[in-house]
Symmetry: C2
Subunit: 328 residues, 2 copies
């Protein structure tokens, strides 16, 4: 059986899903749905259709899993419950604070339609969450640490671009080596925001813009930069294109815990990612969970799930026997 | 509901389980079963009973999960299927090559009795296996690496102790820094056995033993040492007790994979452990899976499971709502 995938939204994430589907022999891309004029959207998969999102209900018997590639701020809260009426859906909803509400909405919609909805799939939330859960279950007495980077933060880059006089910008979140080293050494440090990450900004100015003023505006921006040690580099548009066009990211999840009758032994569990392409890696995780969604649906399960609810066996194209022989 | 735990076998692992149970408020240790005279076995938990293993069937309604703490060579292949006739069981069977056979035996026994048996729980097999599976599912095109150490290998230490003239010995398996660095740098190296690990041996000689001869015997021992760069240090019994009485271990699981339409982006997933006490960490993993076994049994599930078959949500004492709010 080939799992027929649909993609809603063809930005970086949608393109990443398309590439990931190509790497998985048990899947094929059936269609990409867009809010734009379909004739203007050019995809890579020759066998797949580009269709307008309004036609999506017509596809309900031709697609096994619809992957929602919209944004968490406004798209997914509306889209995931809506499309769960016709499809098994997977999204990468990443507004941590609003996950309980999103879960409830998707659960109600998917239970009503008899479909599966898997939400908040990616690396954080996603693989990082899994590692926090496993590490907490194994070491109940301990302390968690998450560091992000080195990687591009889209939100922080956008915040710089909104400053008058800024033509373009890219912001990297960078974990502080000393903080990471202290955690790895089992020192259980209490770390402030400033001690955990620094922010590196590469900024292209409009002609005649006041560099000193813009640097000050960035460094004192509340929430985004004021609580961090921020470095601002002014570069040309050419340098930005040449040296900063990628979308790398990554990070570290650590738990340091104690065991023994009197907590006398220390253990450190670390999970880390170094990603050349944030959207492609996120897409790869989503695609593995699309396989899980397909299998859960085949079993007749319904409602909303997260990575916590899904046994690892559902993710792999291998048979359980092969997994036990090769990976256990 | 308190999960009532039984332990069969009170060596390092059994003692580790006892400590881990103390850290988990939803569990209590009911009894430790031993093949020795129970009056000679002194446990730490005042409220628990020490009983002879022959009396174990009498306990079948007083224990929810029996944790088997025997060895993989001869104990567990016999014990896990046997005790699955009376109890939900968890073991740490770690002979990778014989897992399929052990799985089949435990599955048949547990299905016949209507119990759950979770096998091969610990860190390798166990947490390392999970990380291999997740990483392979997410990055289907890539290469896996596992490094062990720095840590004590009981099997290799025993092999040295069997050499005539050796009074005592401890062997550390050490990952080679350069190999690990090459993997982390995304170089996808092809590594020989010798390139991945070195072996460090601390040996106490019997009086009058021939050090040079023993060093040669160790370094040329087939399977155990001949394929490795091995260092032998001769030390006194006092030094061994002072500097080498711990049982630390750990290791690294890495996968380097490619994504993109033409595999143009590289990603590295790393999981690593630094453990002060190998048996206590293994015990902590087993104890989390004892909780899963209890919940699976409550649901009426039966048969043999591995870490692959169990959704993460089963491991944590938190409610699903709390997990989603705090860990996702």
């Amino acid at each position: 059986m080939t799992i027929r995938i649909g993609i809603l939204g063809y930005g970086n994430l949608g393109r990443g899903i398309e590439c990931a589907v190509k790497q998985n022999n048990d899947m094929e891309l059936a269609a990409v749905f867009t809010r734009r004029d379909p004739s203007t959207v050019h995809i890579l998969t020759e066998s797949a259709t580009v269709a307008h999102v309004d036609s999506i209900p017509d596809w309900k018997d031709q697609i096994d899993i619809l992957i929602l590639c919209g944004g968490s701020a406004t798209d997914l809260p509306e889209q995931t419950p809506k499309y769960a009426q016709w499809f098994n859906v997977v999204d990468s909803f990443d507004t941590h604070a609003r996950i309980p509400e999103h879960f409830a909405n998707v659960d109600a919609a998917a239970k009503a339609s008899g479909k599966i909805g898997i939400i908040s799939v990616g690396w954080d939330p996603g693989m990082f969450s899994l590692n926090r859960l496993y590490a907490n279950a194994v070491l109940p007495d301990g302390q968690d640490y998450t560091f992000w980077g080195k990687g591009v933060s889209q939100g922080h880059s956008d915040a710089i671009r909104r400053i008058p006089g800024v033509k373009n910008a890219k912001q990297y979140t960078v974990p502080v080596d000393e903080a990471l080293a202290a955690v790895r050494a089992g020192e259980n440090p209490q770390l402030t925001t400033r001690q955990k990450h620094t922010r590196d900004c590469y900024v292209v100015l409009e002609e005649g813009a006041d560099a000193a003023q813009i640097e000050e505006t960035i460094k004192t921006m509340p929430n985004y930069f004021a609580d961090y040690d921020t470095t601002v580099h002014f570069i040309s548009e050419e340098e930005l294109a040449r040296d900063h066009s990628g979308i790398p990211h990554g990070g570290f999840v650590l738990r340091c815990g104690q065991t023994g009758w009197n907590g006398e032994h220390k253990h450190i569990i670390e999970y880390n990612l170094k990603l050349d392409s944030n959207p492609e890696f996120t897409s790869s995780v989503i695609t593995a969970y699309a396989r899980a969604a397909y299998r859960l649906a085949q079993e007749g399960q319904t409602g909303c799930k997260t990575v916590f609810d899904i046994a690892p066996v559902y993710l792999s194209a291998m048979s359980p026997e092969e997994m036990r022989a090769k990976l256990l």
